[in-house]
């Protein structure tokens, strides 16, 4: 009995971690700038490849993973300073621009490094509860998801960067008038979002087969979580991931992965009919 319960909890933790990690970067960028980064999947892919190549050159896995996140973050800042900043008053066009970039990067990778790359194995072995075997690394992923959210909470609620960021979200013109360098805040936020996407890729790198188009495996979940969560990462993404995680775990166990994904999507379409601004919009309105 305990083994079954543990198995359910483990599967939920697995889905929850996947939703949180894949959505965090997208949610930060959306929350700060109202922009949906359709190149999100390519930042994840960047994190994956940097990690794998790092490990294959003899780096320890955690350091390679940090490098993966860092690389994605730096590319994100460069992209913001060259392309995205021109499009802040045209959110729909910024989606299209990032889509163009995503297309260029994916196809460019197919041309330059080909369609396959040797992977690295999942570390940290496994453990047994009752008659079931579980991967230890998946628990680390859950811990990482919790840490990412805790880190974001500290960053946005306890640091001066967080105060300036929140001021910029609330009223960019007023913030600028009071001396906040909003372009820097935007660049930093885009960088943080990209780095979190890279981190997601880095963390999942050991568990996946490498192909340049693998970003797509993350983005449906990421988008869906952000739509349900709304524009506030701290208030929205976690409850959204819990709700979607429960739906997904139940459907996965009952009918398999694809039905899980489709069921989640249908749940989202039903949710936005009732909560068009997502969970965080609803919470914000209730607390007013």
């Amino acid at each position: 009995m305990f083994a079954e319960l543990f198995s359910i909890a483990y599967q939920f933790a697995d889905v929850f971690a996947f939703l949180i990690l894949s959505a965090a970067g997208l949610a930060i960028i959306f929350g700060m700038m109202g922009i949906i980064n359709l190149a999100h999947g390519e930042f994840i892919t960047c994190g994956i490849y940097v990690t794998v190549i790092g490990v294959q050159h003899g780096l320890p896995l955690p350091i390679a993973q940090a490098l993966g996140a860092l690389a994605a973050g730096l590319i994100g800042i460069v992209l913001e300073r060259t392309v995205i900043y021109r499009l802040y008053d045209r959110p729909l066009d910024s989606i299209l621009a990032t889509w163009g970039i995503s297309l260029i990067v994916t196809q460019g990778m197919l041309v330059t490094i080909g369609s396959t790359w040797p992977g690295i194995g999942t570390p940290a072995g496994s453990f047994q509860v009752g008659e079931y075997t579980f991967s230890t690394y998946r628990l680390w992923l859950f811990l990482a998801a919790v840490l990412v959210m805790a880190g974001l909470y500290l960053l946005y609620m306890k640091t001066s960067f967080g105060v300036l960021s929140r001021a910029t979200i609330q009223n960019p013109r007023m913030a600028r008038a009071l001396g906040v360098r909003t372009p820097r805040i935007y660049a930093a936020s885009f960088g943080i979002g990209a780095a979190l996407a890279g981190l997601c890729g880095a963390l999942y790198a050991p568990t996946m087969t490498l192909i340049p188009t693998m970003g797509v495996t993350f983005i449906v979940e990421a988008f869906v979580t952000v739509v349900v969560g709304g524009s506030n990462v701290l208030l929205g993404t976690v409850p959204a991931a819990v709700v979607l995680g429960v739906i997904r775990t139940a459907l996965n166990a009952w009918q398999g992965q694809i039905i899980g994904q489709i069921g989640m999507l249908i749940a989202v379409i039903l949710v936005i009919r009732v909560l068009p601004e997502g969970v965080s919009g609803w919470l914000a309105r209730r607390s007013r």
């Binding site: 359709l38 260029i104 797509v216 449906v220 068009p276």
Partner: protein, 350 residues
Amino acid sequence: MLSSLRHLNGPQTMGNGPAFWSGFAVLVVAALAYPLGFDPYDVGNAAYFLIWVFAALGLSLMWGYTGILSFGQMAFFGAAGYSYGVISINLDATGGLTLLSFATAVAVSALFAAVLGYFMIYGRVGGVYFGIVTFATTLALAAFMGQTAGPEWRIGSARFNGFNGMGGMPPLELPWFGGPVLLEGTVLYYAVLLLLLAVYLGLRVLVNGRFGNVLVAIREDPLRAELLGYDVRRYQLAVFVIGSALAGVSGALYTAWGQFITPATMGLPSAALPIIWVAFSGRGDLTATLLGTFMLLLGFQALTVYSQQYALILMGLLLLVTVLFVPAGFVAGFGRWLQGRARRLAARGA
């Protein structure tokens, strides 16, 4: 009926004068004469290009005229394509039944759009969210169809075949005196051309009439349109259904043309293509969308012969450049330049 023809010209379309319509007539005659001088293979290929234009016109109506950016054109394309397969295979369709399958397939995609659109539009989901939800729906549908490989995934005698796609549906046939006529090669070209002409002119009448004026009012300022007493959601839903059904027309025609449809048509990068055509051409004008889409398809195929990846990289670059430097679109920009020149010439002559 005839009185609505005066809406062929109006403020919502570029090209309203005699010069435009003369050029239009020349183009139509050239298109009608085209099969005479060319290889049937080339004619079939031209029909293939025309097939895609419906989806682009639908997107132009939604995005350019009403301001709803749907990333879901290929989802409706695929829904209609698979529906055509399922229906025509199960009916073992010939003659008029293939046309019935076609119409039903388009109706299925329209119904799908109505259901999805109801939840989004009546949930007041707009702008960016609308894009993401349609995008996620498209990708999920592609993933779903991709895993329908086993023999248990079937409707009647039509098997989905997972990633390899569904094949073996009959081509379209036109019932005619003395036996049905198979729509392929030159005949298909003419059929698609006439249908496209009808849809293009119909859309012109639609956008220049009262309905179109409301759409443009909604695009410019939904709140103001609502305060003026229009039920914005009804108009948006109607446009979403029409625009998506046009993608369905493309999908059903494509499936009947190649007797084949795969999940990859709905996935990435395919889902980005309609957006690129329409953005590059100029989403705010039907004529620009029609011409630009056709040109891009032609160029894309010419490049794909050498390398599909490079062709797609170029498409991505084109999208990026359009968004950054020519947001109104290249073809529409060129059209506006032509119009300005003509006006200046006329002013000088007078």
